[in-house]
């Protein structure tokens, strides 16, 4: 991604609106304002304070960027990163559907092959070894029941 001049400013604007939404919409809807006598703070006090701080600092970020011309370095996004994130999300749904063992086997194999197609037979052996050790250690030694998945329940 090319280095943009106003990324910080745009982030600042986004955060400012986020803080406004939190302060005026989300917090009043999600937290009951209750007072328990003198000196007691409302449960909404800290969330509101945090939103105010975010709002104020986002204004500082906007000011620094648009008026003082400051822009922190923004790292490049590799095209692979998005795919890896999609793999992670698919893994979550895979575990819910197929259970930890099957989903892990598929996820590991798919991700390894995606990263490098050179030695896929070796990948299968490594994954099988990993799954066996995982099963023995977590299920048999620690008695941790790993997710079974909707299909195998």
């Amino acid at each position: 991604m090319p280095q943009k001049k106003h990324t910080d400013g745009v982030i600042g604007i986004g955060l400012f609106f986020f803080s406004l939404i939190m302060y005026f919409l989300v917090i009043p809807n999600q937290i009951k304002e209750i007072s328990f006598g003198a000196g007691s703070l409302s449960p909404a006090f800290f969330p509101k304070l945090a939103s105010l701080i975010i709002g104020f600092l986002s204004l500082v970020l906007i000011f620094n960027n648009f008026f003082l011309k400051q822009q922190t370095r923004i790292a490049e996004f590799g095209p692979k990163a998005l795919n890896i994130i999609l793999f992670l999300i698919a893994y979550v749904f895979g575990i819910q559907l197929l259970g930890y063992m099957a989903a892990t086997g598929l996820f590991l194999f798919a991700l390894m092959v995606y990263l490098s197609r050179e030695k896929w037979i070796r990948y299968i052996l490594i994954i099988l070894g990993f799954l066996i050790v995982n099963y023995l250690f977590f299920e048999k030694v620690l008695n941790l029941i790993l997710p079974r998945g909707i299909l195998f329940q």
């Binding site: 007691s40 945090a50 975010i54 011309k69 400051q70 922190t72 996004f77 992670l88 490098s116 997710p147």
Partner: protein, 503 residues
Amino acid sequence: MLANLIAGVVSILHVEVILALAAGVGGGIILGSIPGLTATMAIAVVIPFTFYMDPVISISMLIGAYKGGLFGGSISAILLGTPGTDAAAATILDGNTMAKSGRPGKALKTALISSALGDMLSLLALIIIAPQLAKLTIQIGPGEFFALIIFSLTIIAGMGGESVTKGLIAAAFGLLIATIGLDPMVGIRRLTFGVPNLDSGIAIMPMLIGLFAVPEVIEQLEHPLKRNIPVLKESDDPADNRLSFREFKRCIKSILIGSGIGVMIGAIPGVGSSISSWLSYKTAKDRSRDQEKWGTGIVEGVAAPEAGNNAICGGALIPMLTLGVPGSVPVAILMGAFLIQGIIPGPMIFEEAGPIVYGIFASLFASNLLLLIIGYLIITYAAMHFTRVPKVTLFPIIISFCFVGSFALNQAFFDVKIMVIFGILGYLMRKFGFAPAPFLIAMILEPFGERALRQFLMMNRGDFTAIFRQEIAVAFLILTAISILAFIRKQMKKTAIQRVPGS
């Protein structure tokens, strides 16, 4: 204190404790030696193995992984010239030069002995200082504690890297996220959006595994996968691959300097092991009679940063144990492990969990010895292999560990989803220049700060100005104001530099 320490030693003299420690140290060294994996990652990977253990064993295993991870970073720094962890970057100067000139064995052994000695000296400082400091801090009331947390948060925002404003925004987000769940005083739901799993708040472990381990893996995988193959030739002369007693004597001054700096830097929240190792290197060099030889591959140049970065561990545990303030990410993770085990770090820890704390002190001592033994075996027989572990198989497996680690504690799949959400958030934060460390530490400190402020206001019938009548609180508030002014000055200086044409 001596009786407590002896009781602590007796409590860890069990096979399972020693095995857990050895696994933590060994795992930490192996993971730390792989380029791209930090000591934080070493702890994150070890976490799932510790949930079902006794508090002393589990925390010792995590501390073992932390120490092993710090030392492991120096293996790749020396053999590959790529630091496994940021903390080991200063070791490259002399360590990698030694390796390239046929003396990798000597450099690795110097690093090992210096790391273990630095660790040992910082442990002594911890054992001597922490109980005494706890006796002083026990008198701290809610007002002072709130002021201390405000001060810590301001300092920690400095960990935001390039931009203090972004560090503070990350910390404010941490505060906001920490308020999700039941209100600590009156039990009302806050920001749960009707999701029952959120009543107990965002679980710390899945969140931090997501925030730190997942983005690290994504970043490693998104770049082209190169295998690290060190082209090193070992000298045929055995003297070139061992550390002689004369050389060790030459290192003692560097080790002492590095250890002193490490303990001090470790005790200051937000500074970190990377600065400690560079400062140790520079200070030891400035105080050396042969300054011109530094950087050409001398043992003192390896000893100083290695002692400096490992001595961080004991130093960093001092504010965490006595005040409940974690100064760095690995220590914040350790604090999370304490909380999960029902131990609340802070002034009362020696009163409430004395035997456990002394057991942990004893296990820290044992883990130092194990670091020497396991570290020696690894650098003699296997170091080269670990630096060559292919990323394509290792990193996907680490992600799988992250999933188990997030699921294991509460056996709740909801926590896995939290881990993935924070993993994506952590990745975006890194890319847009928001350091995740202030976020995490603010999130851990918020419940303590909020409780302290609310107790203080109830005690003073809502009069916040009463805080200005408490000397310690005022001192912390003044320090906070000074830190903010220093940040503003730094920011203005930076702007002035940027405005000078061509600068």
